[in-house]
Each structure stands twice: as structure tokens, then as C-alpha cells.
């Protein structure tokens, strides 16, 4: 405990970097998710195939390998990235690939008759998506997105391995320094404490998103939306 107090500046800085990483990543990943997710449900074959390849590659290759690849590989194509940028780029692309799958699952779970009956009313395709499909698809994908967000926040810890001075990197530094200078390893306490911090961040994030979900549920219910159970289940399965 004393170690944490002594090194509070280090940990505070680390926490700030972690938050910076997390916020940027969550924003970019969400944008990419929506963009690629919608790309993959268009009828344009080129777009869907491109989306498919992107999603498959980033989902199937370990995040750590992607991170190393982007960090160590970028300079080779004349585009050197500092550790923080490399981490933001990788985490965003990875989160985007997983999020796109969730978005796709959410849209695909909307029963076909919703589309047909909207079309029968004379709505244009974009109107069908904007007014009929999207509002229904959005609510059920919130829980799986919460899961993805939690995972993304946790994954910011990987940035430590390429030298971003975020929370986990700071913990490593304190552990190493204490081991060398004091002659004993505080790894149990320090890493244990870091785990608890991450847990609290996740808990806060979960509370926030479940509040968002309730608010949206409320609004949708007011608009007379039907039961979302099956849609939600399908969206969750795609994670």
C-alpha cells in the first residue's frame, strides 16, 4: 500500500495515459464499427467483401501480434509511429473489427418483414434504414458493445509492451525498481492493486452503459417498439 502512495505521481500519470488511450480508442472504434458494419450490410459486393476481409483479419490475428506489427512494421513503409499512436491505431482497428460484427449482427437480426413492410409503405432504402431498421438494431447491440468497450479498456494494458507509459507500464516500473533497490518483489501487491483499479474502471463503464440502455429502452418503448429479446440474443452471439 505504501508503495502506491509513494508513487502516486507515477500511477496518476499512468492512469491519465490509460484514460487517454481508452477514450480515443472507444471513439475511433465506435466510428469504425458503424462505418464498416453498415458497409457489410450493403448490397455492394466490393464493399461487403472488403469489410469481411478487414473484420476477419483483425478478429482472427491476436491483438498483440497486430499491435507489434503496426508498431514495428510502420517504419518499414516510411510511416514511423510513436508507441501511443501505434496503440491507438491498433486498438481502434481491432475494436472496429469486433464492433462491426456486432453492428452487422444487430441489423441482420431485424426480421425481414420489417424491411418489406417499410418498403411497401413507399419508403426509400435510406429511409427504411434510418427510420425503421436502425432504431430497432441500436438498442439490442448496446450490451455486446458494453462488453467490447470493457475489453478495449482492458486491452489498453497491451500498450505497456511497446512502451506506452500507461497504468500497467507504471506498475511494471515500480515493481522492477523496488525489486532492484529494496531487494524484494512487490509484484503481488502492485499488480493486485492494478487489477482492482481496472475492475473499478470496468464497473463504472458498465454502470454508465446500462444507464444509457435504460434511457434508450425508455424512449423506444414510448415509440412502441416490440420485444427485442431475439434481436439482442443474435447480436450478442456475434461477439
Amino acid at each position: 500500500m505504501q508503495l502506491i502512495v509513494e508513487n502516486y505521481i507515477l500511477f496518476g500519470n499512468g492512469l491519465a495515459w490509460t484514460f487517454g488511450l481508452a477514450v480515443l480508442t472507444l471513439v475511433f472504434a465506435t466510428v469504425i464499427s458503424l462505418f464498416v458494419g453498415i458497409m457489410s450490410i450493403t448490397r455492394n459486393r466490393l464493399l461487403t467483401v472488403a469489410a469481411r476481409i478487414y473484420v476477419e483479419v483483425f478478429r482472427d490475428i491476436p491483438l498483440l501480434v497486430s499491435l507489434f506489427f503496426i508498431y514495428f512494421g510502420a517504419p518499414l513503409i516510411g510511416l514511423p509511429l510513436d508507441p501511443f499512436s501505434a496503440a491507438v491505431v491498433t486498438l481502434s482497428l481491432w475494436g472496429g473489427a469486433n464492433g462491426a460484427e456486432i453492428v452487422r449482427g444487430g441489423f441482420n437480426a431485424i426480421p425481414e418483414h420489417q424491411r418489406t413492410s417499410a418498403a411497401a409503405l413507399g419508403l426509400k432504402p435510406w429511409q427504411i434504414y434510418w427510420y425503421v431498421i436502425a432504431p430497432q438494431a441500436l438498442l439490442p447491440i448496446i450490451p455486446p458493445f458494453t462488453g467490447l468497450f470493457t475489453l478495449l479498456v482492458q486491452s489498453t494494458s497491451l500498450a505497456a509492451l511497446i512502451g506506452v507509459p500507461e497504468l500497467f507500464r507504471m506498475a511494471q516500473i515500480v515493481v522492477e525498481r523496488t525489486t532492484i533497490m529494496e531487494g524484494y518483489s512487490p509484484a503481488f501487491t502492485i499488480f493486485g492493486a492494478i487489477l482492482v483499479v481496472y475492475y473499478l474502471i470496468s464497473a463504472a463503464l458498465n454502470a454508465l452503459t446500462s444507464r444509457l440502455e435504460r434511457a434508450m429502452q425508455h424512449r423506444l418503448k414510448a415509440r412502441g417498439a416490440a420485444d427485442m429479446g431475439s434481436v439482442r440474443r443474435q447480436a450478442e452471439e456475434s461477439v
Binding site: 476477419e56 483479419v57 482472427d60 490475428i61 491476436p62 491483438l63 498483440l64 501480434v65 507489434f68 506489427f69 514495428f72 512494421g73 518499414l76 513503409i77 516510411g78 470493457t150 482492458q154 486491452s155 489498453t156 494494458s157 497491451l158 505497456a160 509492451l161 500497467f168 506498475a171 511494471q172 515493481v175 524484494y184 518483489s185 512487490p186 509484484a187 503481488f188 501487491t189 502492485i190 499488480f191 493486485g192 492494478i194 487489477l195 481496472y198 475492475y199 470496468s202 464497473a203 458498465n206 452471439e237 461477439v239
Partner: protein
């Protein structure tokens, strides 16, 4: 661009990569199997609401799912020795992956068990089966089938996340590749090689499990 991609370099590294791949497969296979087993046990404890134990399992699941695997790995490998638990790199890696994967599998399998219809529970009770007999003979075989897609996802994640173990020095695929890169700087070749290997492993595992799923579902369409 001055970088020359050299395919023959990759073939020259096949021994090292093969050894790394073998280690990845070994650590993943053990972890996946153990995580499924413990996941099923934990799900049973949760669904049957075993007094005391159920809350412990719920807390474990929540903690593991809401903290980074990488920090868990460091906690186990560097932290446990100071409380007298000394594990090799390999055992630390397996323990970390099992503890992590099992937490997800508890939830996966629990979902499957909850999907077993109440009618079947009544039927089992009416036949004089004890709750634990119903659980093991009816609910688990049915629930695991239902949970199979999500268990597959978790298993694939275990395989991918075994790459994290390079950070504590386990000589698995990613570790081998990074080591070679630091010595010989054939960065793109190495990443291409392990990227393709991971893609093949993940796709192969999904195909294998889809086949298994089909077999398990053949006798019945319901559930």
C-alpha cells in the same frame, strides 16, 4: 520503399516457427480443455445455486472478466511467488489462460443451462431423478450443445491470447517471431508468417467445431 520482401527467408525459419507453433498449440489445447471443464462445473454451481459457492463463482467471473488478462498473467507469474507459489513459465501461462477462459465459459455454459426448458425439468422430477442427476444427465448435455458457439468463441480467444504469454517469456509462436525479428530484422516476413499461421489456426478451429456441432445436433433439431 527499400524493404525487400524475401519469401525464402520464411521457409528458412520453419524449424523455429514450428517449435513456436507447437508450444502455442500445447499451451492452448491444455488451457481450452481445462477452461471448458471448469466452466461447466462453475455453471452448475451457479445454476443450482449452491449456497455460498455460487456467490464465490459469481465474484470470480465478474472480477476476471473485468480485468486485463495481461495484468492477470503478470500477477500470476511475478506476484504468486511472493506468497510462496512458484510456478514455471509454462504452468503460469496455463493457469492464467485457464482462470481467464473458465470465467467466460461459466457464463457461456450458464446461458446454455438456463435455456433448457422447464418442461424437461418437470419431466425429470416426475421420473424421480434427483436435481443433480437431472443436471448431469439432461441439462448439461443439452445446455453444452446450446452453449457450443459461445464456448467456441472463448476457446478461440484462448488460442489467440496465448500470444500474451510471450510477455513472460514463453517460447510460443509470437515470442519466437519477435526474437527472430530482434536478431535478423526480417519484420514483414515474420509477421506475414505468424499472421497466416494464426488465421489458419482460428479458421481451422472454427471449422472443426462447426463439424462437431453438426454431429451433436444430428439426432435432434430442437433444444
Amino acid at each position: 520503399m527499400s524493404y525487400q520482401f524475401d519469401t525464402s527467408y520464411i521457409w528458412g525459419q520453419s524449424d523455429a516457427l514450428g517449435a513456436g507453433l507447437l508450444m502455442t498449440l500445447k499451451v492452448s489445447a491444455i488451457s481450452i480443455l481445462a477452461a471448458v471443464g471448469i466452466g461447466i462445473l462453475g455453471a452448475i454451481v451457479r445454476v443450482m445455486q449452491v449456497r455460498g459457492l455460487s456467490a464465490v463463482v459469481a465474484g470470480y467471473v465478474s472480477f476476471i472478466r473485468n480485468t486485463p488478462l495481461l495484468v492477470q498473467i503478470f500477477f500470476i507469474f511475478y506476484g504468486l511467488p511472493s506468497v510462496g507459489i512458484h510456478l514455471s513459465i509454462f504452468n503460469s501461462g496455463v493457469l492464467a489462460l485457464v482462470v481467464w477462459g473458465a470465467a467466460y465459459n461459466v457464463e457461456n455454459v450458464r446461458g446454455g443451462l438456463l435455456a433448457v426448458p422447464d418442461d424437461l425439468r418437470d419431466a425429470g422430477a416426475a421420473l424421480g431423478l434427483k436435481p443433480i442427476q437431472f443436471m448431469l444427465l439432461i441439462a448439461v448435455p443439452l445446455g453444452v450443445r446450446v452453449a457450443l458457439p459461445s464456448v467456441l468463441n472463448t476457446s478461440i480467444s484462448i488460442l489467440k491470447n496465448s500470444a500474451y504469454l510471450q510477455a513472460i517469456g514463453l517460447a510460443e509462436l509470437t515470442f519466437v517471431a519477435m526474437e527472430r525479428i530482434s536478431l535478423e530484422f526480417r519484420t514483414l516476413e515474420m509477421f506475414a508468417a505468424i499472421g497466416i499461421i494464426y488465421l489458419a489456426l482460428v479458421l481451422g478451429l472454427s471449422i472443426a467445431v462447426r463439424a462437431l456441432e453438426k454431429r451433436l445436433h444430428r439426432p435432434f433439431e430442437t433444444a
